[in-house]
Symmetry: C2
DNA sequence: CGTGTCGTTGAGCTCAGTCAATAAAAGTGG
DNA sequence: CCACTTTTATTGACTGAGCTCAACGACACG
């Protein structure tokens, strides 16, 4: 169990291992020289965390628990045998890395080229759909375990402006908030202003090696 | 030979193949619904292009030639055998993908959390060092085959503001420009304001499978 | 009940965008 | 090589989205 606010792995610490999230949310972030922080990605239940640091001996990012979490630890040495005996798994890992690259690129476009309101909407839609993909019941609203400061660090905004945008999204009838829970009222319209693209559609896994026996 | 301005591969077109750049520059971009464009990454000589689209049957991004280029085309079906017979190559591809992910994350932080001047500086430093890593002589200045509009689309700025920032970088004695060539005067200071991190340092490839014979 | 964190709101400011005009450069066809 | 067109770079004036600063309320926790 990793408690909310705890740093699971600090930037520049060793990377003998990576993680799978069992319960709760984590996020990867980096600190700039001027003290600003950028949250690079969220890690939701069922997803990997820290595997991006594989190629380095020191972690490129800090991984922090956004809520109380449970993670499963995997040693990176285990990957070696996997690549040798199960080429399909290796290729799947590559596939996953590319998917992450594309979703990161989507966020880059969101932050680089859209309004504050769109960015916040994009974060909400992204999280909502990933939770759903991970089998988390998301109909009664989601418990967003992020402070507005953190949402700001993820979207390239200030906490104050995040607050204003959330209020506007509420006034527009797109979302509703009550005691820490967030309910998406009009997902289609929210996804529209968020420029959301579903990257899990249209996957082509035909080129992968078959599973070894 | 792909002429400057030509779209090598359009968004949503098929992805039977990917590329290695032999000569010239390309870039991947995506178009938002409002007509805005975000340039997601540059592809310099010696680098891959389009391999990020591997997992999809339709390309997630558009690849455009920024200058006249020569590329080498690779069929993605060839990867299958590679993973089976050369696990090390597969693991290297994964490594490369993760490196790209991290540099994309660096750009995300740059765009999300730094000033216009820093972003332009970051683009220049990034390109300079990658050209150098690719063995391109970069001392007599680099021939930047990008319009200011394109630099803007890459940094999340407008062409007009890119122009102002370039001028300021010149006035600050960090760069010099003359007839299309750009010379970096004070690389250390430029890298400083760019928040540049060298991601090719500190790589740990010890976990990779050995080369097959 | 004091303290700290987080959310909310207002007032004013600034960085970057918009609009517009002009210069410079690069093509293009003759 | 020259006239003409299109693209790109440059600069100024103005605007506005988002930031800063500041105050206050709500809540959790010891």
């Amino acid at each position: 169990m990793v408690l909310r606010g705890t740093v699971l792995r600090a930037e520049h610490s060793g990377t003998r291992e990576f993680y799978i999230v069992r319960r709760g949310w984590l996020y990867s972030s980096m600190l700039l020289f001027d003290g600003n922080r950028q949250i690079l990605s969220m890690h939701l239940p069922g997803e990997f965390a820290g595997e991006v640091g594989l190629p380095w001996d020191k972690a490129p990012f800090t991984i922090t628990a956004a809520s109380d979490t449970v993670v499963c630890v995997i040693d990176k040495g285990a990957l070696r045998g996997l690549f040798e005996r199960q080429p399909r798994i290796g290729a799947l890992l590559l596939t996953l890395a590319q998917i992450e690259r594309v979703t990161l690129a989507d966020r880059l476009a969101s932050i680089g080229r859209t309004s504050a309101k769109s960015r916040v909407a994009a974060l909400i839609v992204d999280v909502l759909r990933r939770l759903r993909a991970g089998g988390e019941a998301a109909d009664g609203g989601i418990a967003l375990p992020l402070t507005q400061e953190e949402i700001g660090d993820a979207t390239g905004l200030t906490a104050v402006h995040v607050n204003r945008m959330m209020r506007q999204l509420g006034e527009d009838g797109l979302i509703a908030r009550s005691n820490g829970r967030l309910r998406v009222i009009d997902e289609a319209r929210l996804a529209g202003i968020a420029n959301h693209i579903d990257r899990y559609a249209g996957l082509d896994l035909g080129w992968l090696p078959p599973a070894a026996r």
